[in-house]
Amino acid sequence: MQDLADFAVKYLGKNGASYAEAKYQEIESNSFLVKNGSLDITSFDVIKGVGIRFILNKRLGFLSTNLLDKAKLIKQLKDSIKMCNKTKTYEDVEFSDEKTNKANYKVIQKIKFNSISPEEKIKVLMNAEKEMRSADAKVESTYMSLNDLDTKSYYVNSDGSKIKSSIPSCEFVYVIGIREGNKTSQRYSQLGATGGFEVIKNFNIPLRLKNEIEAMKNNLKNGKKPPTGIIDAVLGPEVTGIIAHESGGHPYEADRIFGREAAQAGESFVSKEMIGRKLGSEAVNVVDDPTLEGSFGFYLYDDEGVKARRKFILKNGVINEFLHNRQTAKIMGLKSNGSSRSNAFDKEPLIRMSNTFFLPGEYTEEELIEDVKLGVYIKNFMEWNIDDKRINQKYVGSESYLIEKGEIKHPIIAPKIETTTFKLYPSIDGCGKNLEFNGGSCGKSEPMQGIPVLLGGPSIRVRGLKVS
């Protein structure tokens, strides 16, 4: 069926397109959903289809289908071409010139997903349920989903790039709740990685969830009100990761900067003139790196055939680089840095993050804490949000503690940090040596595209934040 992708690119070339690309995919998936210890449903599927994008008279078109039939595809191609010709108010689209690439790469599964029976995969979830229920806490509800995917792609474009890839991955999502008297607490989290069944083993799901339940119980039972006012905070990697993603990554997506996402995920406080502008302290270094082996956001070539690389977004607090596709790179007179992705063949490729994180620093977490007179230590979070220009942001701690005279004291319940990017980034005065990641599904565009990403970083210390 790769022939269909090759055919579409040739057909569009013959019909006047100055550029065409096609992505054929076969996505094999297995998923398991366990609610309150009961296996609700097991699903398996194989999805096949092709997505095609082209430039004709500087106008951009996209089509996708799972009807792998040449005659039907020609009809759809003709309709798309006609739409490009009809239009008066159409943006002129040009792509940056890029090196053509021919590649064939795959992520190795040390333990192949299809060598593991459904029962064994389900056992991981059932063991986690058992561990949670064995903890000394009243577990109110549990909801877990485990998915493995094997995505085989064939990408071809009219410049001559041809890239084959095979990327197996898995994700684990949980939402758990406990009760202590008349108080309740909930936790949501997501893990994701590329690789085989060995990565699920590495997630250590049963132990992780038992620890979660115990920390939640300790917080509900012994937690006190958080201190309020302008104080210091030490934030664990899960919190640092969401900050990196929301205000260290999103504002620097060039399509947002140029207004293309205005009606969906929004624009950005950043403008194209801000490259080189100081935004954060010297301790702030944020990168987006799709080439991290085993990562949830892993790829070596993006969905425009451009070789992937690490992008240094914020360097010592200075805005260094935006995330580009070939369209925004052309507008800024640059080369693409390989940030174009679609979550599957059926959606248009967009500028997306991959694995976005603060680089670690030189302190141990203890050293970050020992220099705080009064503050909060927030290990992880539940509620968060940020405005669509990526300025006004809030994080509500889950497992959290008071810091007094450089020492961790009692748990505190739901400390809230409500701040702005302009206040937060200059106030980061130290980064830990540790580096941890969480999985995420980042949403953008219409129709919504949730795409696998990692969010990460070390523990960081922030001075003078509003805490309530």
């Binding site: 449903i41 097991t42 006004n392």
Partner: protein, 438 residues
């Protein structure tokens, strides 16, 4: 027709208790625009053929892409092999059984959809917005037609066809001044995209030069677009599956007060021209109208056949085969106009859109969300000036109990933030907690 029957018979012969086969053919045209220009046109053509099977309470779902007998046999084999050693889902109690009559939904299909050029609509909307004095606008238009069929092992056969239009426009006059409005309809003649273009432009112009928001308790008027994400979550919370999995603020509240007496919530899968309307649900049970909250009292959850059996009640026609889902979730209207509400506000805020709603605890309904686009401070019955950089930090339980007024006109909303259909008026809530960053 032959293949679904074949698959059902084969699976039944080999031990399946229940089988549901649903197929859908859809074709969507989309136009995406920003900076007053069309960015690209898109089309999507998809056929799906889904299989759900229960083998002694072992539940499997999959799909078939190749509609040959050979591919069907392979899939049947895989279903049987997969189900063999799975643990039982003790909660599963079966699918709909009965001789159902389906009624047609009014305004559900636009015969002319193939001749509609979405680009013409978008170009007209862009012109309307610019003519109203807007600097730039962005948005999207979708036009979809679909044909669905269902076959079940209880001899249920259903067919449905539908068209749907979704239009969204955000107009902007500066980085800090914008307005957003959406229009949805199953038939083009009722798609009020012109009004959306003009409304988004009006809000955008009004929101120029915003001042920093105050914080504290305020009486808040939510536009339909602004309250829709909260109503969408409320609809989700009414599903019995959300109750069981800890995603709802309604647990153990049946027949108790969950809202002020003026609040009536209905799920209506037969709503005329409703985005979420259809003749039958995912197990072939007819769609229906269900009162969820009556005069502030929680009256019913949303059920499929299986959950209804467990709770000794009747299906509300909301299957989802595992999780019952809302269809068109409606907050019934009151008697006020938007101007009546504004006149009654001493110290309040008008919010025209929200985004990034996230919960700290689904059971208590504690959440925060961020007003986006035109947001206005109201003092002594008059809009004073636009404000920004604020956040609604409250709980849904409190908000529903503090609804003191409802608009008299209903608007159907789908949006980026509220993807499933809601129908609602302006909503007037007292003492809403507003916070802001420092």
């Amino acid at each position: 027709m032959e293949l679904p029957k074949y698959i059902i018979n084969e699976l039944k012969k080999k031990g399946a208790d229940d089988v549901v086969i649903s197929s859908s053919k859809s074709y969507t045209k989309q136009v995406r625009f920003s900076n007053n220009e069309i960015n690209l046109n898109l089309s999507y053509s998809f056929d799906v053929f889904n299989i759900f099977a229960s083998l002694k309470q072992r539940i499997i779902s999959t799909s078939l892409r190749d509609l040959s007998k050979k591919a069907a046999d392979l899939t049947i084999k895989k279903i049987l092999a997969s189900a063999k050693n799975l643990p039982k889902n003790e909660d599963y109690k079966g699918i709909a059984n009965g001789k159902f009559k389906y009624t047609n939904i009014e305004d559900n299909y636009d015969k002319n959809i193939d001749n509609v050029n979405p680009i013409d609509i978008v170009e007209e909307a862009i012109s309307l917005s610019i003519n109203k004095g807007v600097l730039k606008c962005a948005g999207v238009l979708f036009a979809t037609k679909s044909e669905d069929k269902i076959f079940t092992s209880n001899d249920i056969i259903g067919e449905d066809k539908k068209t749907h239009y979704y239009f969204s426009i955000r107009s902007m006059n500066s980085k800090d001044a914008s307005g957003h409005s959406n229009a949805v309809s199953n038939v083009l003649s009722k798609l009020d995209y012109r009004n959306s273009a003009e409304e988004s432009a009006e809000i955008s112009k009004m929101s120029l030069n915003p001042k920093e928001s105050p914080d504290g308790k305020f009486d808040v008027i939510f536009s339909p677009l602004a309250f829709a994400p909260l109503l969408k979550h409320t609809g989700d919370s009414a599903s019995i599956y959300s109750i069981e999995s800890g995603f709802s603020f309604f647990p153990k509240k049946l027949n108790e007060r969950v809202a002020n007496t003026n609040v009536n919530l209905i799920d209506d899968g037969t709503y005329r021209n409703g985005s979420g309307s259809s003749r039958y649900d995912d197990e072939g049970h007819p769609r229906q109208r269900t009162t969820v909250v009556e005069n502030g009292i929680l009256k019913s959850f949303l059920h499929n056949t299986s959950s209804a059996i467990r709770y000794k009640t009747k299906s509300t026609g909301n299957a989802g085969l595992i999780s019952p889902d809302p269809t068109n979730f409606i907050l019934m209207p009151g008697k006020l106009t938007k101007d009546d509400m504004i006149k009654n506000v001493k110290n309040g805020i008008l919010i025209t859109n929200i985004w990034y709603t996230r919960f700290n605890n689904y059971l208590t309904g504690e959440f925060s969300t961020i007003p986006r686009d035109g947001t206005f401070l109201i003092k002594n019955g008059e809009i004073l000036y636009p404000i920004n950089r604020l956040r609604v930090s409250d709980s849904l339980q409190r908000i529903y109990k503090n609804i003191i007024g409802l608009g008299k006109e209903l608007k159907q909303i789908e949006s980026w933030e509220a993807e499933s259909p809601t129908v609602l008026p302006y909503v007037f809530v007292k003492d809403v907690n507003i916070t802001k960053p420092k």
